[in-house]
């Protein structure tokens, strides 16, 4: 992987709870390049979600660094191109990272359309009419243009998650983070969400996906990361991880889930 394409570089990331008694993340280092589709797998409690949530600082790491587009976002300040020390505004970096949650987290008091145009209008000062047009295009792409004026409660789980994905896309993020996007869905709705994600991956979007969908991981992932006990145990292509596990830990995990 060429280093100039490097988008996110995580170094020695630790997240401790209860004064270090629980190490949710234990010295994790990893690098994500532009166009990568990284799938993170592992047993529950292995630190997958914590790792993902540290990437956009929803979780503040205990130590270590997350460098995004050349800026360490775990620090309070950074040095810009002119060499000036600038105060870091995490909001500016978060808007370049879309995030999709297990429980959708649509805003229930706003319609689907309002959910989608909120951030572009409020944060990017986009014209509401322009934002609406863009939102309708995206809704069409996921087959939900007729639901634009509905409220989230009127949608099925799969529909909600598709809306959550396009809501994040409204900000034109450089990378999309998925935190178990299909875990709260009824089985028959998993497919519709995965197919939107597959399409997104094929369009060249950089993605980091925490999931339990092994078939999807193998099919869509370019890199697969296996985590256990807060550490990255193995990392490689889907073939390496699923067909030739090197560690006993991964082999037993695969035996259970496949």
């Amino acid at each position: 992987m060429a280093t100039n394409d490097e988008m996110i570089k995580v170094t020695n990331l630790c997240k401790h709870y209860y004064n270090g008694e629980l190490k949710a993340l234990d010295n994790v280092s990893y690098s994500i390049s532009k166009g990568d589709v990284v799938v993170v797998i592992g047993p529950s409690g292995s630190g997958k979600s914590t790792f993902l949530r540290c990437l956009n600082l929803l979780e503040v790491p205990t130590s270590g660094s997350v460098v995004f587009d050349g800026i360490d976002i775990t620090q309070k300040h950074y040095v810009d191109e002119q060499g000036n020390k600038v105060k870091l505004n995490i909001d500016e970096h978060r808007r370049k990272m879309g995030m999709v949650f297990q429980h959708f987290n649509l805003f229930p008091h706003k319609t689907i359309l309002q959910n989608m145009i909120l951030a572009p209008v409020k944060v990017k000062r986009m014209d509401p009419a322009e934002a609406t047009e863009k939102a309708m295009q995206l809704l069409r792409r996921v087959g939900l243009e007729d639901r634009a004026l509905a409220y989230p409660i009127q949608l099925s789980g799969g529909q909600k998650q598709r809306v959550a994905i396009v809501r994040a896309l409204m900000m034109e993020p450089e990378v999309m983070l998925f935190d178990e996007p299909t875990s709260a869905l009824d089985p028959e709705m998993v497919g519709e969400v995965l197919s939107v994600m597959t399409e997104l991956a094929q369009s060249g979007m950089t993605m980091v996906i925490v999931t339990h969908e092994m078939g999807f991981a193998r099919e869509v992932g370019k890199r697969v990361v296996f985590m256990a006990n807060g550490r990255i145990v193995e990392e490689g292509t889907p073939e390496q991880i699923f067909d030739h596990p090197q560690s006993l830990r991964l082999a037993t995990f695969l035996e259970k889930v496949l």
Binding site: E92, R94, I153
Partner: protein, 232 residues
Amino acid sequence: MISAAGFAKTWQYIQLFEQGLVCTLSLSALTVIFGFVFALFLALMRMSKIKPLSWFATAYVELFRATPMLVQLFIIYYVVFAKVSLPSFKIFGFIRFERFFPGVVALSMNSGAYLSEIIRAGIQSIDIGQTEASRSLGLSYKQTLFEIVLPQAIKNILPAIANEFVTIIKESSICYTIGVQEIMYAVSSTKGATYRIAEPLLIATAVYFCLTFPTSKIIAYFERRMSRGDKR
């Protein structure tokens, strides 16, 4: 005790009740506004990660909930504002500002304590995922508070807020003790002039009801309006 003649006598002083109504309305409306804004700050302070802010807000709320409103009012009027010379002009030509203003301050400080606990409960009832989703879209803490958290929180706590607003209207009658010319002041003046007590009290009851009942109805309307996102 209650007689037509008594009402006729009382009716000669109906202008006092009209003034009382205007005064009570102004007192309550200002208290609702100041109390609410103050309560919002108190609630945010109480939930703040900065410990001294949180301690201050907690101590404030406990103190104001644990002492009688009358004591608070007297301390603010006779002690705090004793040293301050307020401009003595009349609002609407009759409300004495130097008595009215300390009344608004005392009522706002008291209702702020109660409202802040309601607001805090409301904010904490909103799933943390809402904040996370909003922040991950790049919205700031303030934008998240005003666009995402508060609209949902206020919807949840509207019945409790309605209760508090109605309480403010009724509690404002306590300001009569420092000479604010609200409805109970009209009762007292009319009593002094006519030696009638039952009729002025009945009129006061009617006026208070005419203020409180529509208040709860208006809030009930907003409650229905804000729950549009709840219908399947």
